[in-house]
């Protein structure tokens, strides 16, 4: 399956709901854009989790352009797509690799957002591209998180540096980088324990892990990826804010986009924090991680309607 097809497949459920809802608005040939119509449109948009404010912007744009007119679906779609593009248009941002030596990637996020699985997928992807990958099992808090990542490392066939359950995550990070330097790896991906952005002690721990990483390679970590759960609502904005402030995130992974959740919350996040969405998780298999592309995201979301 091609890349585009796979993303479309993953987003199918998302799209189906979005489209059904939108189709419902257009029973018959066209519709008069009045208050009722705008209210229904607002409901459809809010259900994507994009949040009240962006949904209002879309609605107001449609109101401004079409109020009092009978419009066809195509006209409105073009308008919404244009607006959506304007909001999240961004340069395609593949991972940035260090000029020399290993590239250190730190992965952070709240509990259960999908960090460990996303790391496995990312490692698999890079490994398949011919890169030498080392994993660092830095989640020493959650029971069996280290074994979970070890299972993945075995399946991928890459190196893994493990810490003890309850051990110091910063020392695991240090050891991982040391290993990466020793075996001349291209990439080291370091897992961290899930934490809520409001737990200040645990957030400070992230700062410490960062600091320790910088001891061997001053620029490390080169990339800090925040994993967001696509089913999350507006709290994801608070997550992006909290983790960006402490861990200095460089990009996002939007996990679990293969369900009915729409992940619309990335729209305000991209707007507010200028954080690019680098990858999306679209399934449970190792290969189910794809580059995010705003164009495709928008198109796939509205595909089959236009």
């Amino acid at each position: 399956m091609g890349l585009f097809a796979r993303i479309k497949d993953g987003l199918k459920k998302t799209r189906q709901i979005f489209n059904t809802d939108l189709r419902d608005l257009f029973k018959g040939e066209g519709r008069l854009v009045d208050d009722d119509f705008l209210k229904e449109l607002f409901a459809v948009l809010v259900k994507t989790d994009m949040g009240g404010e962006p949904a209002r912007r879309f609605r107001d744009r449609v109101a401004k352009e079409f109020r009092g007119r009978v419009i066809a679906l195509d006209d409105m779609l073009t308008s919404i797509k244009a607006e959506l593009h304007e909001l999240i248009s961004q340069a395609e941002t593949p991972l940035h690799f260090a000029d020399s030596g290993p590239t250190i990637i730190m992965v952070v996020g709240v509990n259960g957002s999908g960090k460990t699985t996303s790391i496995a997928k990312l490692a698999y992807r890079l490994h398949a591209e011919g890169k030498k990958v080392v994993l660092g099992a830095g989640d020493t808090f959650r029971a069996a998180a280290v074994s979970q990542l070890s299972v993945w490392a075995d399946r991928i066939g890459c190196e893994i540096v493990k810490g003890k359950q309850g051990g110091d995550p910063a020392s695991v990070a240090y050891a991982t980088i040391a290993k990466a330097l020793e075996i001349n790896a291209d990439v080291a991906i370091i897992d961290t324990a899930g934490r809520l952005q409001t737990q200040s002690n645990l957030m400070q721990e992230l700062e410490k892990i960062r600091r320790v990483m910088g001891k061997q390679i001053p620029e490390a970590p080169h990339q800090v990826l925040l994993v967001l759960d696509a089913t999350a609502g507006q709290n994801a904005i608070s997550q992006a804010k909290g983790f960006s402030e402490v861990a200095h995130c460089t990009g996002l992974i939007l996990a679990k986009l293969d369900g009915t959740a729409k992940g619309g919350v990335v729209i305000p996040i991209i707007q507010q924090f200028a954080l690019p969405v680098q990858y999306i998780g679209v399934g449970e298999q190792l290969e189910d991680l794809d580059l995010f592309d705003s164009q495709q995201f928008v198109e796939a979301l509205f595909d089959g309607l236009g």
Binding site: S147, S238, K256, G259, K262, E284
Partner: protein, 499 residues
């Protein structure tokens, strides 16, 4: 928890306050704000609409217009409707006399496995014999995770390494439970998408072949609009008996709980409020609605106080206080009880009218501040502890050195102790309710100002300010002082102009 929704609604109602009479128009503004706030809180759109209709119907009636204080009345209606939507309450696990089988299900990463451990802990507390069953055969190391949790709690975990069929594992587990005198079996199923027909089928098969007595849906407190869809799908597949919401210790507004409750109609049993295995609280709609509206949650506070504080020590303290004794040693005991991880923030969040304070305390490392205070007391001799007046500059220097703090920290602690002892003596012999009222009065009068006291101990604020930020803050402070002075001067002039 729920603070963000709280702030939102409070600001919605603030706009109603100060308008002597509530007109239909200005109430509509308030209701509009409530609606927006609920949407921002991730309550699903359709649920918000239903809710607003119910509130509007009552609010736009005669009653409100005739009521003495319209904004209070409106607040009351929203509060009542929230309780009505979140209730009725049923926290019972409906345990049978022989073996009760509980099944937990939910999306990936909702917190099922952790919740299993928390339930086991709770059952142990109630003198039951629980057993956990590793029926998640999908996620790598999920079985091992449950084993580790089982060990932490001290309950048996049933698993079949290498098994492929969760139905078989569950059936064997229940059979084993019967033969070993276990009362409650908790099935930890694999996380799945509600649209994954294959896995939902598997869940249905477990339901039919193992026939659990209770099926609970575990929902992530941070879930957005999708909550309606997934909860509905699980409910249709399984006929749920209850809901457990997790991760409510952060700043997630938890509005998804309203959505899930609305679509499933099953009672909310528990809420997860922390990573530790005892952080599972019984759900109470009144408390939740009270929290949403910024009225605090006194009942939960009492619950925590009862659970966490060593009763024997409390009783001893009560007796001593009644005799008018309060020493530094007792102060230290108090600190030690409060210095448990996360407890302080949790309690302050629950205190009426102090919701905003948790926000102010973000980044304040309360626990380590408490530990530092305890360190200071530990560095004193027993004589000094029972009679702090002994502490002269040279002793103070010794104590400070011992505790690794500055001399003024020791003085600060002694001053604080002095204030505390007065308060503690007043508290003696009063019930929890009286104390809460007194604490609130003190807070209102500015006597208890944890924020201010914390800054005195000069620990990190969690944020490192740049020189620029500091200069900015200073400028702001000075402007505020000038404004206050101006106001005072202005006030004086007005009086001077009077007759």
């Amino acid at each position: 928890m729920f603070e963000s929704l709280q702030t939102g609604l409070q600001s919605a109602f603030k706009s109603l306050q100060g308008k002597g009479k509530l007109t239909e128009a200005n109430m509509r503004d308030g209701l509009q704000l409530v609606e927006e706030s609920l949407l921002e809180a991730d309550v699903s759109y359709s649920v918000v609409q239903d809710f607003m209709v119910r509130v509007r119907e009552q609010a736009l009636g005669e009653k409100v217009l005739l009521a003495l204080n319209p904004s209070e009345h409106l607040l009351g209606i929203v509060h009542q409707e929230l309780i009505a939507l979140l209730g009725p309450v049923d926290n019972s696990l409906h345990l049978k006399s022989d073996v009760t089988v509980l099944m937990l299900c939910g999306l990936q990463g909702a917190g099922k496995t952790t919740t299993c451990g928390k339930l086991a802990q709770l059952l142990l507390h109630e003198n039951k014999k629980p057993m956990l069953v590793a029926a998640d055969l999908q996620r790598p190391a999920a079985i091992e995770q449950l084993h580790v949790i089982g060990e932490q709690v001290g309950v048996p975990v049933y698993s079949e390494p290498g098994a492929k069929d969760p139905v078989k594992v569950c059936r064997n587990a229940v059979a084993k439970a019967r033969s070993e005198g276990v009362n409650v079996v908790v099935l930890d199923t694999a996380g799945r998408l509600a649209i994954d027909e294959e896995l939902m089928d598997e869940l249905r098969r477990i339901d039919q072949r193992v026939s659990p007595d209770q099926a609970y849906l575990v929902v992530d407190g941070m879930t957005g609009q999708d909550a309606v869809l997934s909860a509905d799908a699980f409910n249709k597949a399984l006929e749920l008996d209850g809901v457990i919401m997790t991760k409510l210790d952060g700043d997630a507004r938890g509005g998804a709980l309203l959505s899930v409750k609305h679509v499933t109609g099953v009672p909310v049993k528990f809420i997860g409020t922390g990573e530790h295995l005892d952080a599972l609280e019984v759900f109470r709609p009144e408390g939740m609605a009270g929290r949403i509206l910024g009225q605090g949650d006194v009942m939960a506070l009492v619950d925590i106080a009862k659970q966490k504080f060593d009763e024997e020590k409390q009783r001893q303290l009560e007796e001593d206080l009644a005799k008018g004794q309060f020493t530094l040693a007792q102060f230290r005991d108090q600190l030690q009880q409060i210095a448990q991880p996360g407890l302080m923030q949790k309690m302050i969040g629950l205190m009426p009218g102090m919701g905003g304070l948790t926000e102010a305390m973000q980044g304040e490392d309360t626990e380590s501040a408490m530990k530092r205070l305890m360190g200071v007391i530990d560095s004193m001799t027993p004589q000094e502890r029972s009679n702090p007046k002994l502490i002269d500059p040279s002793r103070r220097h010794r104590i400070a050195k011992g505790a690794g703090v500055a001399g003024h920290d020791v003085s600060g602690l002694l001053k604080q102790f002095d204030q505390m002892s007065g308060v503690m003596k007043q508290f003696a012999g009063k019930g929890m309710g009286d104390r809460m009222r007194m604490a609130q009065q003190m807070q209102n009068s500015g006597m208890l100002d944890p924020g201010a006291r914390m800054t005195k101990t000069k620990q990190g604020s969690g944020k490192r300010l740049s020189a620029k930020d500091r200069a900015k803050a200073k400028k702001l402070r000075e402007r505020e002082i000038r404004r206050k002075k101006r106001e005072q001067r202005g006030g004086g002039e007005v009086r001077a102009k009077g007759p």
